[in-house]
């Protein structure tokens, strides 16, 4: 084991213990799907049958039938062709035009992602937007500059006469517009999970070979880095089954830079291979990587070994380390007389680990900034309050 070949610092009290791996191969691998194409399709027949057999669906449907409601064809929303110049945006219910958002769409432009416009056809105002004003503006711009051309490749005379589809129906009620706006902005929709998000992003790059979106390419690179250390995101189905080296805190992974992901996964797979990749591991490596790089200090293998030794010998797991820092955060605030509802602070994990490391006699160089966080001084009474002094399990080892 590489870790054991390191020159052990005799001043540091903890030595990492190698524990037999619980599994030769991670059992989650058989369920892992982000590296393969799932070549199965579900028919509408299947979905219909599943829904019909569900008791909650059955109850809700019966309630609707019993209400006597009928919807006629002319009351149904449908795609209506409108002249772009006629499309109006009611200020009373729409947001102001967000130009940075528009620029963002242009920077990642993909014509297959263009959505349909939404609204109602008002008897006086004409096609009135309930959503997609940015899409409409984008189309106007693309027609105007000649990116959208006719069948013969010719530029249109003007964007105002350009015809596009709007989803809606004839109505003089702006209440319908408001409801449509709420619905198309997420109200009543099942939100996409963080896992689903990265699944689609990664598969766009890996399976479909589409590298046009920089964000997707970046996430794929991060995932490849994690996979190279045997660390995998848990799918929604297994989100509550913490397989070894696997993580369910997708946001923690996604927001970490690739350098921090490499450190976190190396630390996890080298020293805590029997445990789940706890969210705290993303947090403290992100903080450590960011601060060390700011001060241009190298994160050595020795430092990683000693941090892992400290966590393993004092807390046994990263989970318990997190619990201990959370409890200390509460005590630290109480000691300082700070009243807060906050039960934890993510930003505390990295500084707490580094400060404990130094307090226990760690000799590797660390950024001064990380030693100053979560330490406050009562100047009048001359008392210094330090979060790590509230960590009962660790403080008996403090020598500094």
């Amino acid at each position: 084991m590489e870790a054991l070949q390191l020159k052990i610092d005799t001043t540091f009290p903890f030595k990492w213990k190698e524990i037999p791996a619980a599994f030769a191969t991670n059992p989650y691998i058989q369920y892992y799907e982000l590296d393969k194409y799932i070549a199965t399709f579900r028919s509408m027949e299947d979905n219909f049958k599943t829904a019909c057999q569900d008791s909650e669906v059955k109850t809700a449907l019966k309630k609707l039938v019993d209400s006597g409601i009928k919807v006629y064809p002319h009351e149904m929303n449908r795609a209506i062709t409108i002249r772009l110049g006629d499309y109006v945006i009611p200020d009373d219910l729409q947001r102001i035009l967000d130009c940075p958002h528009l620029a963002g769409i242009l920077n990642n432009f993909n014509s297959s992602c263009l959505d349909i416009l939404r609204g109602i056809v008002h008897s006086k105002m004409g096609p009135s937007s309930s959503d997609a004003q940015h899409t409409a503006t984008l189309i106007a711009l693309l027609v105007h500059v000649g990116i959208f051309v006719d069948e013969n490749g010719n530029k249109y005379d003007n964007w105002q006469d350009y015809e596009y589809q709007m989803w809606g129906r004839k109505s003089d009620s702006f209440a319908e517009c408001r409801i449509q706006f709420q619905t198309s902005n997420g109200d009543g929709k099942k939100p996409q999970t963080a896992y689903m998000k990265i699944k689609n992003q990664v598969k766009t790059v890996r399976i479909d070979g589409d590298t046009s979106n920089k964000k997707y390419v970046e996430i794929e690179k991060k995932l490849s880095m994690a996979e190279s250390y045997g660390c995998y995101p848990l799918s929604d189905k297994f989100a509550k089954t913490d397989f070894s080296n696997c993580f369910s805190h997708i946001n923690g992974f996604a927001k970490s830079p690739i350098e921090a992901i490499e450190l976190a996964c190396k630390y996890q797979s080298t020293y805590f291979y029997n445990d789940e990749l706890n969210s705290v591991v993303w947090s403290f490596w992100r903080q450590i990587q960011s601060q060390f790089s700011l001060y241009d200090i190298q994160i050595t293998d020795k430092l990683m070994y000693e941090l892992a030794s400290l966590v393993q010998r004092v807390f046994k797991t990263n989970f318990a380390f997190k619990e201990a820092v959370d409890a200390a955060f509460k005590e630290w605030n109480a000691a300082r007389g700070v009243v807060t509802d906050k039960k934890r602070e993510e930003a505390a994990y990295g500084p707490a680990l580094i400060q404990m490391y130094k307090a226990c006699g760690g000799t590797e160089q660390v950024p001064r900034s990380m030693m100053q966080e979560y330490v406050s001084t009562d100047v009048i009474n001359g008392i210094t309050y330090s979060l790590i002094k509230e960590i009962d399990e660790a403080k008996k080892y403090y020598v500094v």
């Binding site: 037999p20 509550k240 913490d242 046994k316 380390f321």
Partner: protein
């Protein structure tokens, strides 16, 4: 403000020492279960069913972090659990295929793998025949005891 008897008892029994925690293994309601507590006396009484005491078959003592880590191993979702009677009281579902001896061996192996200072401090612990919490804070049982 009403007087918190439970808190008062806890303080009188434990003082300000919050670092000691206990991990217990219990058999009851046709299930094998486990849990952690700062106060085995009070927790064991929570399991009483119509006056019948359900003992902690094994009671371990350790630091808060060690006990948290130990409990976490069995709450990670790798073993199917069920909750009965009260929430946050963990019991192994039948599909976990775990019996008392197997689970005890798993717990002991984990403690040994970690070189943890967690110790077995009581067997068949009943709050009605409480050996005294001061005793529990010091007791160390051997397998033969």
């Amino acid at each position: 403000m009403s007087f918190d008897y439970k808190k008062a008892i806890e303080l009188s029994l434990f003082g300000k020492d919050t670092s000691i925690h206990y991990f217990y293994i219990i058999e009851g309601y046709d299930y094998l279960g486990f849990g952690i507590t700062k106060n085995p006396h009070s927790r064991n009484s929570d399991y009483t069913l119509f006056g019948k005491v359900i003992p902690f078959v094994y009671l371990y003592r350790g630091t808060k972090s060690d006990i948290n880590s130990l409990e976490h191993q069995y709450k990670r979702g790798l073993y199917p659990l069920v909750q009965i009677k009260e929430k946050n009281r963990e019991w192994f579902a039948d599909e976990a295929n775990l019996d008392l001896n197997t689970f005890k061996k798993m717990v002991d192996k984990q403690i040994s793998d970690w070189d943890s200072e967690i110790v077995l401090c009581a067997k068949d612990y009943r709050y009605t025949e409480c050996p005294g919490l001061e005793y529990l804070k010091e007791a160390v049982l051997n397998e033969e005891d």
